[in-house]
Symmetry: C2
Subunit: 386 residues, 2 copies
DNA sequence: CCAGTCCGGTTTTACGTATAACTAGAGACG
DNA sequence: CGTCTCTAGTTATACGTAAAACCGGACTGG
């Protein structure tokens, strides 16, 4: 078990090659026991800043400067030294670290600890403000806890990546995934990582912990509001996306209207853009038969498009047509009239998701959460029959 | 060079402790050479799924199953085996890897290679659609190249983090930073990482490569458009943010108007929200003196607020007041009338930033880029004097 | 028939850290 | 005075991978 005398361990003062290489002793190539790979002339990034300049100081460098062992440096930097290292020594380690600009190599730490304090957030698109807010909430909690957040880079136009983990190069402790990122789910489960699902069918979430919004209740509130205003002829302008998030809204709406006799409901689908919403609403408002008096949209973007369509057709909102949105994006109060919509606590979804993941990582079990949503009545709804 | 028979290397079939621990032979503590830390009962995540279940297969496990050495596995998985390993052997390695669900441990790979193929993107807030689009562009290029993107988690409300690298736990090869994330810049430079700056003052970018939008030209186009329509009394509704991004717009606007005699320009500042824009515009439109005929906003959100303010004051847009935005967010075509604004190629900024970073990583030098912007005339501007 | 070359691998090592296990020396205490 | 404890450290090792160096055997050319 005793190591040979030619040890090259950093603590050895009379070491042959650690700092000696630079002192002009031009050793013939291939003579030493083994060259460092980084010393090769063909290496990429480190080489362009000079041979060793820019190489980050390691804990051993700090140890040498402070006159202690590498283990002591690790203890001090990891704040694990209360009662194991004297105040004086800890101070000298800290000042040595500062003077060398030492930062622990996280790759090494991650390898050693087997965890990374990094979570992956899988969402369909950050340009959707809802998910940007989910990220914000998740990142806030993560920052408090010293956890990093990586996004599954599934920007529009990239197409479904084969392996979510291949692109998110960081190693991961756990995953928070929106049910809308359906293509990635299979690969995620295969990964075997702790998983928290956002807004996913509780029936099919299996082992995963879930954080859901009470979307059914939101839609019931919308229906109740419009029914109370006397509306009976409805169009549901639904998202053209096959996801539980939207299926549950449609089901809840149909169910809520079923209770009141004399109601009519037709469904029109459109992708989630203003232009598509405009087109779909225009179609729904111009087809033969009695005109609907209320148009219930799956999100605020569609509602904005609907308002434009109404105006284009000479209909006043809300007097001739009531319109409701969903999500309460900033868009909802940017348009005029301001949208009646359902406020979704998006940041809380992210926060709850991150907390749930931390609970799972701590050994769970974590109870599923169902966050309440709230109808916000603004200017696009009024009594029927204007 | 022959190894002792008590080798515990993965290739050895008759190993003593790798799987043996679970077979009921209760070895007195402290007897073996050294216990694996993970075997301790107090360990966190791995323990809740059983002793070794869930432990990921390593390249040595694959090697054992395939009947080759770990090095061969590494060669095959790294696609570096052309001419070094036979097709047959490579196949058997691959099938062994598949059957074990092997995925290379990225922490180990990162440590070994000294690079991570991960870049940090520093932006002020993803809920600003512009930056969400910058991310999208950057992530697209990154995905093509097998590079991961980590965001600097500076969501609103977290406050300036001390150390951008502490929260972005992944180790990084380089950084792309928006000049608007000013607080983080000092720490970023200290980090000594390759740096690409987005929309930053070329004078102060120092060594960093820059990717800029030609914002000055954008503002000149706005001014030219409005001057040609006969406007002379302007208000600049400026962002309440001290950043080069906005300073350059203000300077370009003032400069452009200086050339035409008889012009008036006053500046009002507001945070970048609809409500603040509304308040500021209301103030600008109701103060004593001749009313301005054109209100030039630093971004579309402010412009939307301005339109609401105008309507509230009984002014028609664009007949009584011309309004221009900036950015061409999706909001610009959601409101009515649609905003005349300056289209910024946000995704291209992200793409160019990522490409520039890759160039720097490959040894640069990389030429700075200046991306053109384009005035989009829509419905909120018309001839003066309605 | 022998040196050289190529093929298809294996052995060994280093990356930088965290931590279990050990230890030297100083005091305390019976 | 021997032993026990406490303090303040050190030593040694493993995490999983990539890759440089090595190596046995088959083939080849002169």
């Amino acid at each position: 078990m005793t190591r040979p005398v030619t040890s090259t361990d950093g603590n050895d003062e009379a070491q042959g090659e650690h700092g000696g290489q630079a002192e002009g002793t031009a050793v013939p190539a291939g003579t030493g026991p083994r060259e460092r790979p980084e010393a090769a002339p063909g290496s990429r990034w480190p080489s362009i800043r000079g041979p060793r300049t820019g190489a980050r100081a390691t804990s051993r460098d700090v140890a040498r400067v402070a006159g202690v062992s590498q283990a002591t440096v690790s203890l001090v930097m990891g704040e694990k030294w209360r009662g194991r290292v004297s105040e004086r020594t800890a101070d000298s380690v800290r000042s040595a670290a500062r003077s060398l600009g030492y930062r622990p190599n996280l790759a090494a730490r991650n390898l050693r600890l087997g965890r990374t304090r990094t979570a992956l957030l899988v969402v369909p698109a950050l340009t959707n403000e809802f998910f940007a807010r989910v990220y914000t909430g998740a990142a806030r909690v993560a920052a408090e806890q010293g956890i990093g957040v990586v996004l599954y880079p599934s920007p529009e136009g990239v197409g479904p990546a084969r392996d979510p983990f291949a692109s998110a190069r960081a190693t991961l402790d756990g995953v928070i995934a929106s049910s809308m990122a359906a293509e990635a789910l299979a690969a995620l489960r295969e990964g075997g990582l702790p998983l928290v699902m956002l807004d996913s069918d509780p029936e099919r979430a299996e082992a995963a912990t879930t954080v859901n919004l009470d979307l059914a209740d939101g839609m019931r509130q919308v229906a109740g509001h419009l029914l109370a205003l006397g509306h009976r002829r409805f169009v549901h302008l639904a998202a053209d996306i096959d996801s539980w998030t939207f299926r549950v809204r449609a089901a809840a709406l149909a169910e809520a209207l079923r209770g009141t006799p004399g109601t009519e409901l037709s469904v029109v689908r459109a992708p989630l853009t203003v232009a598509d919403g405009l087109r779909a609403a225009e179609h729904a408002l111009t087809r033969p038969g009695p005109r609907p008096t209320a148009l219930i949209c799956d999100d605020d973007v569609l509602a904005a498009g609907t308002c434009k369509a109404a105006r284009r057709l000479g209909l006043r909102v809300p007097d001739d047509l009531s319109v409701t949105g969903f999500d309460d994006l900033s868009l909802a109060t940017a348009v005029e009239p301001e949208l009646t919509t359902v406020r979704l606590p998006a940041e809380e979804v992210g926060e709850a998701g991150m907390r749930a993941l931390m609970g799972v990582l701590d050994g769970g079990p974590v109870a599923p959460r169902l966050l309440p949503v709230e109808l916000v009545v603004r200017g696009t709804t009024t009594v029927a029959g204007g």
